[in-house]
Assembly symmetry: C2
Homo-oligomer: 342 residues x 2
Amino acid sequence: MSKPTVHDIAREAGVSLATVDRVLNERAGVREVTVKRVREAVSRLGYVRDISAANLARQRRYRFAFLLPDTPSQFLKVLQDAIDEAALGLKLDRCEIQVLRVPVSDPVALVNVFRRLERIAVDGVAVMGNETPMMRDLIARLKARRMAVVALITDQPNSERDHFIGIDNMAAGRTAAVLMGRFAGPRRGSVAVVVNSMQARDMVERRIGFDQVLSEQFPGLTALPTVEGRDDHEVTARVIAQCLDSHADVVGIYCAGAGLRGVSQVVAERGLAGRQVVVGHDLTPHSRAALEAGTIDAIINQNAGHLARSAARVLKAQCDGVGVIASQEKIRIEIVIKENLP
Amino acid sequence: MSKPTVHDIAREAGVSLATVDRVLNERAGVREVTVKRVREAVSRLGYVRDISAANLARQRRYRFAFLLPDTPSQFLKVLQDAIDEAALGLKLDRCEIQVLRVPVSDPVALVNVFRRLERIAVDGVAVMGNETPMMRDLIARLKARRMAVVALITDQPNSERDHFIGIDNMAAGRTAAVLMGRFAGPRRGSVAVVVNSMQARDMVERRIGFDQVLSEQFPGLTALPTVEGRDDHEVTARVIAQCLDSHADVVGIYCAGAGLRGVSQVVAERGLAGRQVVVGHDLTPHSRAALEAGTIDAIINQNAGHLARSAARVLKAQCDGVGVIASQEKIRIEIVIKENLP
DNA sequence: CTGAAAGCGCTTACAG
DNA sequence: CTGAAAGCGCTTACAG
């Protein structure tokens, strides 16, 4: 016999469809004995519920919001595009996704966003932003309203978020260091390290991983004190230029945050392509061009399309109360060089 | 007004549901004028059909078969597991997937497989195997029966397959060469190259890409003539050992096919870890362990889970006559080192 | 606490 | 060539 349906369960348990439905959806107001009879019928027949039929019947729509920082960055643009593209495909699965660019470090703005999400009755939220008390508070409010919440790219480990969608940044830093060390070959000297801000947990983690591997495996290389590019390619260009001016023995640059464009600009201007090893993060139109031009040697990337789809899938699974395929939701630390550019 | 349904179209066009359905599904037997009226209503209201409701109504099930070679290889095991895992998740989407391990180079076996696929009324087939006349013939038969067909991992470019799910092997070879050259640092010498068989197109392509980059970018390194490991780690170990014995200046080994386990075994036995640069393909339990042990330096991988899910999604899209998200179906050339192991 | 009936958006025989 | 009615597998008011 083929897949059992609610009708089969009803017959087998000697109850009506409505009662089967109540038990399946764990609604109150059913006698213990009845619940048990239905449960037994379910397991005896090996019933599994057809979620798309259920969604059709209840006209279920999933409304998700993605909260991204309103800072200008090419990667955020890439990510936003990826979310929009994923949203198109997910429409068929009754998911409506909207992206909100918000000033994530402004408490007032965050409260307004929360009000808005509440008003439009969102089912799930993916939040990206630094770990701050405001953010933790926002997540707590969302969870209090029973929304599904995932942290995107930057984890919010001490919050009530249901999942984290992103990479292990320590491992990413370690990976960057191996590429730096091996690509540098026999050269000895120092390595410049630029991040957005040492306030951000991911930057700190990348730096720690990077330092670990450099000191363990490449004793000929010394990482210089971190300089901060403040998410801005002009600032990044300036601090990196200063760094190169004050250290004659720099053989490589690790750009752990945004602003990679500033780095490649300095490298190009000074004719350092192929002489400095440059390792950065995040594939964007700029970093792709820089890889092709040879001003950057390798990019550590997290696939924007994968991030977007994974966040949506996990939010949906959370809403449905079902599990996910762990391996599919694991965001990979991609290594991209000119030759394997997608 | 919210999403229009078939009812809205029927009312707007002044016809019945059945007629709307006929037009939407392009069935014959509707007057040209009627077709036009319905089409106009569709575009006027911006109707898009709810595929899951349609599938529910027609009790549509998708039956897919994956044909994998019956040769023993760890990567095939990994792939088979990935397919089984994907199948579990796709059950919810009414997809039933079965994997058939077949002697793909045996014409008689292939004909039998075809008969079987025909008998169980499969909707789509993913085939993996060398490009042979038999294979091309099999694909032609499948297409003649209106099945969707994708080539998996190894393309069948001169066949009628609908899509190719796999990587650009030339680019993969180029990527391997960059890793080889950069990891070798200042060392000069020769590089051993082992493949399954030079009859296989992917092996030839990888070798070409590898040679291109080596001669363009790393003049200090010379690739030795290809040796064949015949998909067997013992044979691979033997031919690599011979290669090392007869060439004193080998600084690296590129294993473009299966049998990487044989390479890492020789490297381990001879205490060459860290002295020879070893680059191979495909992440398996063995190659993972070898990366961790340091007997292999880098793996070029194609994600098995991604291959499996992508093949299924593309087959389904083909059956439904809809498009796919190109970026999601592009199989990436992954670079895996110890530090970014998933 | 439980059930009969209608409905979600689409498709399918069957009749005409 | 076209339509009325029943049905896919589930859920939801409404009655009792």
